[in-house]
């Protein structure tokens, strides 16, 4: 998987927003959740993206003590993040079917 590709980065950002919208997660947890969904990216690639999403104020990260364990940075969606996820969902829906169709036609 070419991690440099802008398209993939955009999609991965959308997926990260979707996961964070469901529940508050920390970095490692997020990597595991992506993998469980079958989205197989280098685990480390989430951290530059998390930084960018924070810079764009789509997510908010906060260091919190986790029960017994160490301080962890937990991420939540901001209102701007909610809006961005909504836009991603619509864009994806609008693209998904035509692209699938186009590629299927080429295959056959």
């Amino acid at each position: 998987m070419n991690e440099r590709s802008q398209l993939l980065k955009g999609i991965l950002e959308g997926c990260i927003l979707a996961i964070i919208s469901r529940e508050t997660v920390y970095g490692y947890e997020l990597a595991v959740k992506l993998q469980q969904q079958g989205i197989d990216v280098k685990e480390g690639s989430i951290y530059p993206l998390l930084l960018r999403l924070q810079k764009e104020k789509l997510i908010h990260g906060e260091m919190k003590a986790s029960g017994s364990g160490p301080n962890r940075k937990y991420y939540t969606l901001t209102p701007a993040g909610e809006a961005s996820l909504k836009a991603f969902r619509e864009n994806w829906k609008a693209l998904k079917q035509p692209v699938d169709q186009l590629l299927d036609e080429e295959d056959s």
Partner: protein, 223 residues
Amino acid sequence: MSTLVEENNEKRNQLNKENKKIYEDMMVYIRLSFNKSDQETEEVLMELLDHLLVLQAEGGDSSELFGSDPRQYAEDIVGELPHTVPKEMMALFVMGICYFLGVYMLSTGLIRKILLYGFQQMEPTKLYSLGTTAIIIILGSITISVVGYSVFRYIKWSCFRDISKIKEFLATGFIFGIVPGTVFFAMYFWLPPMGPMLTVPVYWLGITGAVFLLVAEILRRKD
């Protein structure tokens, strides 16, 4: 802030030798990108450390986290870190200058004091020609800035590389010791006295130095 750094220092010891080497290179490289926000930098370093520790416990390899090109990965992280506010940068710069002047004046004052009382060597006052002193301070600050910047660049360059300790010692000694040392010596001995003269009692040097150090210390605490 400093608690994050301490926590990092402690936790880092749980890494095995290879992971520690690559993580510390990553850490130094990212921390040395000095126009970046400290808080964000330490937070992402802690996240990476926690992640690497989990990988290590599971028997995984650091390449799963940093990819095949750790330097590029460090660049990716640095590229996304928010910039520090110029005000903080300025405070840091002023702090550096205050430390430099403080140490310089305090040590000059002390050494002269000791020479004066211990060996009856020196006069109790020092004669400064203002023009020459101004040139020394300006050229000195420039030299120190250039050397400081070179140190930054060198350490960053040396991350993720295996460099022989002897070569490193010789090269760094030359660039960061001999070159600036020569500049200061040359200025000290060859610059003719220029401008109006000013006689300063030696203990004033010490007192002024202490004040500069105090200001630097207050600036550091405030951070």
